[in-house]
């Protein structure tokens, strides 16, 4: 069982790597970090602030784009192209297929983030000429960004299991934006009354909580992130991804392939 999941995951990774889109985006992100250095030249005293903010935001944004770009096609493309036929005629369970795809995509993003992170640290070193103790927190921010990616991947996979690539992209991106404002959404929900209150609160709690995972400005100001928060965020991301993935499995299990 687990071997098949690993095989599917590594094949998904291989597909992503051979898909030249990935290379372009990495190059783009590196370019952006380079631009950050130029910005640092113009402003005074906040080069570090700008590099960290700009770099991490770029890592986050590009990663989300990649996650959505690839994620939305993971299932629908295989159904469309009928490459699934010969896969499912083997002793592969449908749920193993979904889980394998998830790990493949997540793995791709982890590798991608790793390289981008090196870029950010490189740019930082260039601008500040040395590392300060607060820079270690950048790793925490990167880790949180990876947790965000896990959630986005699971959502993209969920949508891909029943929807066309275009619609999946829209839904996934919308959830990313809304999730980034989830603090405010919960604030809105709190101020409503009656039925609206229950609906709004329900929605606000089911939307992925990206605000808690976004510590970019805190890290830019060299503030520490508590260990409790790291632990809770990790568990939250795992549970949320499990939720979306189990939804994907339930849908895919019932799907008649054309």
């Amino acid at each position: 069982m687990s071997a098949r999941i690993i095989h599917i995951a590594s094949n998904t990774f291989r597909e992503a790597v051979r898909d030249r889109v990935l290379y372009n985006l990495i190059a783009f992100a590196l370019l952006l970090s380079g631009a950050a250095i130029f910005v640092g030249q113009i402003s005074i005293d906040i080069e570090r602030l700008v590099v960290v903010n700009l770099g991490l935001s770029a890592v986050s944004l590009f990663g989300v784009v990649i996650a959505i770009f690839i994620g939305i096609g993971l299932v629908s493309k295989e159904i469309e192209k009928r490459t699934l036929y010969t896969v499912l005629s083997r002793p592969v369970r449908r749920w193993e297929f979904i889980v394998g795809k998830f790990f493949g995509l997540a793995g791709t993003l982890v590798v991608n983030t790793f390289f981008m992170g090196i870029g950010v640290f490189g740019a930082l070193l260039y601008v500040a000429h040395k590392f300060s103790s607060g820079d270690a927190q950048i790793l925490t921010a990167l880790y949180f960004i990876i947790l965000q990616f896990l959630i986005i991947c699971s959502l993209a996979l969920l949508f891909s299991s029943f929807s066309s690539p275009l619609l999946s992209a829209i839904f996934a991106f919308a959830l990313f934006v809304i999730g980034s404002f989830s603090d405010d959404l919960r604030g809105f929900a709190y101020l409503t009354h009656g039925i609206a209150h229950w609906i709004a609160t329900g929605a606000a709690y089911l939307v992925p909580n990206f605000s808690a995972l976004n510590v970019i400005s805190a890290v830019a100001h060299e503030q520490g992130i508590g260990g409790q928060l790291i632990l809770q965020n990790t568990v939250y991301a795992l549970f949320y991804s499990a939720m979306a993935l189990s939804g994907a499995v339930l849908i895919f299990e019932r799907r008649n392939l054309k």
Binding site: R18, T86, R90, P91
Partner: protein, 313 residues
């Protein structure tokens, strides 16, 4: 133990804008395929052949009925380790090479690591793709893809293989190769279930056939039996340009082609015909009993179903 037992599998799709109209793709099908035989599943396009195969593979879920494959529930995932499937006009991950694809599929089928590499090499040679094993599949021609399809279907040495229109799009040489391969598989003791609308292939290869039309089974039987209904006529071929009066007297239907004449006469007149030709000193080339072709059987079954369908409407 039969290799395949289809017990009333049926599939009805709901079509229309509100998904309210039922469309029957497959009426309840009852069919048995024995081990070690080559079984042909015949029918015109859209008859339900591919639907049946997709149901067997678990790609589509039936609205009724069950099936058993190699004695086990057809939905049991483990049973899939012993079957192979070649879909119609197969698509594969085009960013992989033939070798990588077979390796990946081998992994998924549970072929142990040590065995995989030699098996893949052997398989590539067998389908004639060894030279291009490192080429990405996106560069393959249709015929080459078909061969990859066959390779992936038999790579893990399954007991039972399902081929959906395996000859489609192949040139005559390719078709010959596929036919030969199917014969080989039978010799290896495997069961082959294949669907096609090309009757000559079926006639040449199959032990038994089933005919399906508009989702319904129209006829099942051994090819021998179906075509052995001798019409009670024989075909006499001799060399000559003139038709002897005596032949005409026997009520023969004659055709002349170049310096050869073909005549169809009742079997009872066979001896009389031979005597007539000897008297006229015409050179006898051949006498063959006339058999129904599978095509005729096929057409008759289809027409019959159409008339009954017309009547029942």
């Amino acid at each position: 133990m039969p290799a395949i037992e289809i017990l009333g599998l049926e599939k009805t799709y709901m079509v229309g804008f509100w998904r309210k109209r039922p469309k029957r793709a497959l009426h309840p099908l009852h069919l048995t395929v024995e081990e070690g035989e080559i079984f042909g599943f015949l029918g015109p396009n859209g008859a339900g052949k591919t639907t049946t195969l997709k149901l067997m593979m678990g790609l589509v879920f039936p609205t009724g009925g069950t099936a058993r494959i190699l004695g086990q529930e057809w939905t049991d995932p483990e049973v899939k380790a012993q079957i192979g499937f070649l879909p119609e006009q197969p698509y594969f991950y085009d960013y992989l090479t033939a070798h990588e694809l077979l390796d990946y599929y081998g992994q998924l089928s549970g072929v142990p690591g040590k065995e995989r590499k030699p098996k893949i090499e052997q398989m590539l040679r067998r389908v004639g793709l060894h030279d291009v094993k490192g080429v990405q599949l996106r560069k393959f021609s249709k015929g080459m893809l078909q061969r990859v399809g066959i390779a992936q279907a038999i790579l893990h040495d399954p007991k039972l293989v399902f081929f959906d229109e395996p000859m489609s799009g192949l040139d005559p040489l390719g078709r010959r190769e596929v036919r030969d391969l199917m014969e080989q598989l039978k010799h290896e003791g495997k069961t082959v279930f294949f669907s096609t609308h090309i009757l000559s292939d079926a006639e040449a290869l199959c032990d038994r056939v089933a005919i399906i039309h508009k989702g319904e089974l129209r006829g099942v039987g051994a090819v021998e039996e179906l075509t052995s209904a001798v019409q009670g006529k024989v075909e006499v071929i001799w060399q000559g340009t003139q038709i002897p009066a005596s032949m005409k007297a026997l009520g023969a239907e004659c055709h002349t082609t170049g310096d050869t004449i073909r005549a169809v006469i009742p079997e009872s007149q066979q001896d009389a015909a031979i005597d007539a030709l000897r008297r006229e000193r015409m050179r006898l080339i051949a006498i063959t009993p006339l058999r129904t072709s599978l095509e005729a059987y096929f057409v008759e079954k289809l027409q019959h179903s159409q008339t009954t369908a017309g009547v029942s409407k």
